[in-house]
């Protein structure tokens, strides 16, 4: 039954010509037959290199084995022992840099499609089983607060809840999910999937309070007064960076966060919703990461001609290969080795009309290991545009840290934690995810949430036994 194919079973996708006009999911998922066929490519290695590549340590060969035996329910149980959000991870994890990178099959051909299989298992379970797996131990009545309901906060809350804690997540926005809700678009991560995963947590006893900003509505010290024994801060890297070039304040220039929030969180692209988004004709997206791809592909779906402007070349792009390819298939153009130096607006209204940019060339590698882009001597070029979306990264959100000076931060505004315990400089306050690392991936944030949950549990147990 072993499948010797050097290639993954291809996941069906929506036709690019059709999908460029809709917000429905691009990748359509495996059928059971496809999943089994792919599962049989797995060698079931004894030393499980894939598992060591997973930030939350999913027992990959074991769940794939269950898929081989058509026992998808068991496969789901194995995954959810360590991963609270499998349907999400199956879609947005950069598996090619993690589990699949370590897959033995990748030495000669493509790795096993672990992400595709994880997604299949999670979707199958969602469709066929209604009850959530309740792994909670009996409640111990100890209250823990989590700040932020993004992937890190959700994971930490899930794991603590499973250990019997009474967990409340405080969310600043009106809707839970953090970047999963406001950032990643519907066509890459349907919001029904996100809501389903969040509802599982809630049915498992996790409380989520929306519209409360820790640091504004409630202070950290007040949470302790309210009886919480520990706090996990996972408020993310949500503050957009701008380039500092002339014209960035003109009407028609958005941060990727604003553009994506209007579309994903506020549904500006749907008639019924009140939030406005302009009719766009020629969009320039500045940046080369996944967020840039998300923004470009949203703009495309709103009917615009889209150019992605990136200062390095294609191989240095931080975005996932699949996302870049999907964007290309949808008719998005790329201007590599190009960097904007000025955004020019209409002399009366100020509305964006053109972007002035210079050609770059690559020199020796910089601190990130990628070749550093430097300006060439060529004359600057002009390109027509009515909308510029800046997607060059995000900084940590300072609302929590500004409100409590006993939390130490580094010069970038990231919370400083003990690497092994995730403890901050304030007693019984822990932090993880993007607020500690700066903008990174969903799964790394989840890994931190997991680690923090265990540490909080250990510290609370230790304090209890010390008190005896």
């Amino acid at each position: 039954m072993f499948n010797k194919s050097k290639k993954k079973v291809v996941m069906p996708v929506q036709n690019p010509d059709v999908r460029k006009d809709n917000f429905e999911e691009v990748a359509l998922g495996y059928t059971l037959e496809m999943a089994k066929e792919e599962a049989f490519r797995c060698l079931n290695c004894k030393h499980t290199p894939c598992k060591s590549g997973c930030p939350v340590g999913v027992n990959i060969p074991e769940f794939i084995n269950a898929v081989k035996n058509s026992d998808i329910e068991l496969a789901y149980k194995i995954i959810s022992e360590t991963n609270a959000l499998p349907a999400i991870c199956g879609r947005v994890c950069p598996q090619e840099k993690q589990c699949e990178k370590k897959c033995v099959r990748a030495k000669n051909g493509e790795p096993v499609g672990i992400g595709n299989l994880e997604r299949f298992v999670a979707d199958w379970y969602m469709e066929n089983m209604n009850e959530s797996i309740n792994v909670s131990e009996k409640s111990n009545g100890i209250k823990v607060a989590v700040v932020g309901s993004g992937p890190s906060g959700l994971t930490c809350a899930n794991d603590l809840s499973n250990l019997g804690y009474d967990v409340t997540i405080y969310e600043a926005l009106h809707c839970a999910g953090g970047v999963l809700s406001y950032g990643i678009p519907e066509f890459r991560l349907p919001k029904d999937i996100v809501n389903n995963e969040i509802n599982k947590l809630k049915s498992n006893g996790v409380k989520i309070v929306a519209n409360v900003i820790i640091g504004k509505t409630i202070y950290l010290d007040e949470l302790f007064e309210m009886g919480y024994k520990a706090i996990y801060i996972a408020s993310g890297a949500g503050t957009p960076k701008f380039m500092g070039i002339p014209g960035e304040g003109l009407p028609g220039v958005y941060s990727a966060n604003e553009f994506l929030t209007r579309i994903n969180l506020m549904h500006a692209y749907l008639e019924d919703y009140d939030t406005p988004i302009e009719k766009l004709k020629k969009v320039i997206v500045v940046g080369g990461g996944n967020v840039a791809m998300d923004a470009a592909r949203c703009a495309r779906r709103l009917g615009a001609d889209v150019n992605v402007m990136y200062r390095r070349s294609e191989i240095e792009m931080p975005a996932r290969k699949d996302e870049i390819n999907h964007a290309k298939e949808e008719g998005i153009n790329f201007l590599f080795l190009s960097n904007p130096i000025e955004i020019i607006g209409n002399s009366n209204t100020g509305n964006v009309e053109k972007v002035k940019y210079i050609k770059m060339k690559l020199s020796e590698p910089d601190a990130s290991g990628r070749c550093k882009p430097v300006p060439t001597n060529e004359e600057p070029c002009l390109i027509d545009s009515d909308c510029v979306i800046i997607a060059i990264g995000n900084s940590p959100n300072a609302v929590v840290t500004n409100s409590d000076k006993s939390i130490n931060c580094d010069s970038r505004g990231c919370i400083v934690v003990n690497d092994s315990t995730l403890a901050t400089s304030k007693e019984n306050v822990y932090a993880g995810g993007d607020i500690v690392t700066g903008a990174a991936t969903v799964i790394l944030a989840m890994g931190a949430g997991k680690k923090a949950a265990l540490q909080i549990h250990n510290d609370i147990c230790k304090n209890k036994s010390d008190a005896l």
Binding site: H174, I213, G249, N257, T261, D274, T275, P276, A398, V399
Partner: protein, 286 residues
């Protein structure tokens, strides 16, 4: 989806044909609110998030007060809500509180519905022992709001109208200029109103070298520094009104830029508003 708190409308008072006041139950926010801060509200699932200044707050009765002018679809929809209804989302208090503790003699200049924002600032100054001279400007007499309330928290009050319908024709800057010419011993000017008015006030006070605080109310979505839609160039630097403001030193604000940015969604807003008006007429009168 995750909403547990009910933000009930406890009181609704019409201040003029276009402006109304609502008192909303919001215990957690009322306990933290301070002058100069604002809220983000969303009426219902289909609504947009809009910022509104906290015009007043009562931490004993757990309420916050908003004053809004019907300018677009959202404020019109808000105006259809009555006592006993509730808003889906109210979040805050957002922004930094105004720093008004150390002044002796101040002029507060409010324009139109901007008086709803400058009123709590005047109140705060007055409470702190500052002499407050309030100048309020409106387009015409029927638009005058908060006159009695402002009277109580200011030493002098000048109300002017563009068309003279209240008996005093003129611009706020005319009165301001007279005051500054007569006696320049003010240590602060606070101004809130339409952007061109705030700009005119700042241009004037700059000549007299008097510190001037403006409160910015730009386009905003989240209110926590996440979208950057509210960015304002202040002293050559990009600042976010939601977390770095909403108060800024008016002499450093790039008004030209923010005036253009605030017009960004105008065409769609007008279309939405007209569509909504037609729709509501159908509901109300057919």
């Amino acid at each position: 989806m995750v909403c547990d708190i009910v933000y009930e409308i406890l009181e609704k008072v019409k201040l003029n044909d276009n402006v109304s006041k609502m008192v909303i139950s919001a215990p957690l926010i009322a306990r933290k609110a301070a002058a100069g801060q604002f809220l983000i509200i969303r009426i219902d699932k289909l609504g947009e998030r809009i910022p509104l200044t906290i015009a007043d707050y009562d931490s004993e009765n757990d309420t916050v007060t908003i004053i809004y002018q019907k300018v677009g679809k959202t404020t019109m929809r808000l105006d259809n809500k009555e006592v006993g209804d509730s808003l889906l989302d109210v979040v805050g208090p957002l922004g930094k509180a105004s720093e008004l503790g150390s002044y002796k003699k101040a002029i507060v200049v409010g324009g139109g519905v901007g008086c709803a924002i400058s009123y709590p600032q005047a109140k705060e100054l007055y409470k702190n022992g500052c002499k407050v001279e309030f100048i309020a400007g409106f387009r015409n007499e029927s638009l005058i709001i908060l006159q009695d309330e402002i009277q109580k928290v200011s030493n002098t009050l000048d109300v002017v109208t563009d068309d003279g319908s209240n008996g005093r024709k003129g611009l706020v800057t005319d009165i301001l200029k007279n005051k500054l010419e007569l006696n320049n011993d003010y240590d602060l000017v606070v101004t809130v109103g339409p952007l061109p008015m705030m700009k005119a006030v700042c241009d004037l006070t700059k000549k007299y070298n008097i510190k001037t605080i403006v409160s910015m109310n730009p386009i905003m979505i989240d209110g926590t520094g996440m979208c950057g839609g509210c960015r304002v160039t202040v002293g050559g630097k990009v600042r976010f009104a939601c977390v770095d403001g909403p108060d800024f030193d008016g002499h450093d604000v790039d008004f030209e830029e923010i005036i253009k940015r605030n017009n960004m969604h105008k065409s769609q807003e007008i279309a939405d508003r007209e569509h909504y008006c037609r729709l509501m007429r159908g509901v109300n009168y057919v």
